[in-house]
Subunit: 200 residues, 2 copies
């Protein structure tokens, strides 16, 4: 005899599909759902379906959006001279949260990773090049791909592609993270932090 | 400007309603949902709605079920001489998982907790008493409420209520958990473990 009644078993296995959620946590979540009112559970189910249905990629920058162009591309107050290139919409959210950057974005939806068979044509690079070619306002492209091998390689590739057009290309700074411990910082980061030192 | 597009914001806040899931985890789950196929996301949403709709309490034992009576109460192979009283359907699942216990259950859906204003009439006790009165097969009631103040008090209350009917009433054993460390076991548990020692 199965341990769970069928609909509970189905809910638990659906929930345990999430990375980082095992059967035990899935069971706890399932019981929380059963403790919700019908409206709350329906609201959750509807939010899932609606998000899947309404969210798409902005045709300009590739960011996740329910409008096209997205709220950032369509915002007249943003600085159109700057485009920050990131790997994923999550990176846009992280940068937007600090409320400092006022320029535009371009989301690659991945990085060049030859080991995984992902070349420049598999990520959102072509639309960036077309965007730069058609715009006469962009003065700087900030490369904010992740500071790992693939992110670096992608940044290098983009720099070589964009610089000839006379656009300034910059890379985010490497260094010791604020609140971090020098003692526990890896050697490569420390070397980069010393190399990138600034006059006070 | 909000950081998330509306449907994503809604999904993230719906997901962060779960106890133990903060905004950050909710965002990760939301992105996992967006990465699912439409069928997968729809399947998850449907599992939530279906579980809410189809799961109810068994009219006999109070366990969570999509059938009535539940699969355990309806299973002719179970030992009808024994009823194990537990606080919640999760406890039934935990006991069923070990595949050792072959008797029936009774789910209280709570414990007597005077500090929270929960009296014997607020939990599923009356149906247990009626069930015992109407059955002539039950020979033993195992009290498996949690080993804390409320669980103890509820067990004591039930023992006093059931014993006069000439039914054997037992309480699950207290002691050091298997795989536990005597060194790190609290004093009350250790005292119970020594008090409950058995001849080898």
């Amino acid at each position: 005899m199965p341990v769970y009644p069928d609909p509970l078993e189905r809910l638990v296995s659906e929930l345990s599909r999430f990375a980082g959620i095992g059967r035990k946590t899935a069971q706890q979540l399932a019981f929380q759902i059963l403790a919700m009112s019908d409206e709350e559970a329906g609201g959750l189910a509807d939010a899932i379906v609606t998000a899947k249905k309404e969210l798409r990629h902005c045709s300009v920058c590739g960011n996740l959006t329910d409008l096209d162009p997205c709220a950032i591309c369509g915002d007249l107050a943003r600085d159109v001279n700057m485009i920050c290139v990131v790997e994923s919409p999550k990176d846009v959210i992280a940068i937007e949260k600090m409320r400092e950057y006022k320029g535009l974005y371009h989301v690659l939806h991945g990085v060049i990773a030859p080991m995984s068979g992902i070349g420049p044509e598999d990520i959102n690079i072509e639309s960036l090049i077309i965007r730069l070619r058609e715009s006469d306002s962009v003065a700087e492209v900030i490369l904010a791909t992740n500071p790992n091998i693939e992110g670096e390689a992608t940044a290098m590739y983009l720099a070589r592609l964009i610089k000839p057009a006379g656009i300034r290309v910059t890379r985010i700074a490497y260094g010791v993270p604020i609140g971090g411990d020098i003692e526990y910082t890896d050697g490569v980061t420390l070397a980069k932090a010393i190399e990138g030192r600034r006059e006070l």
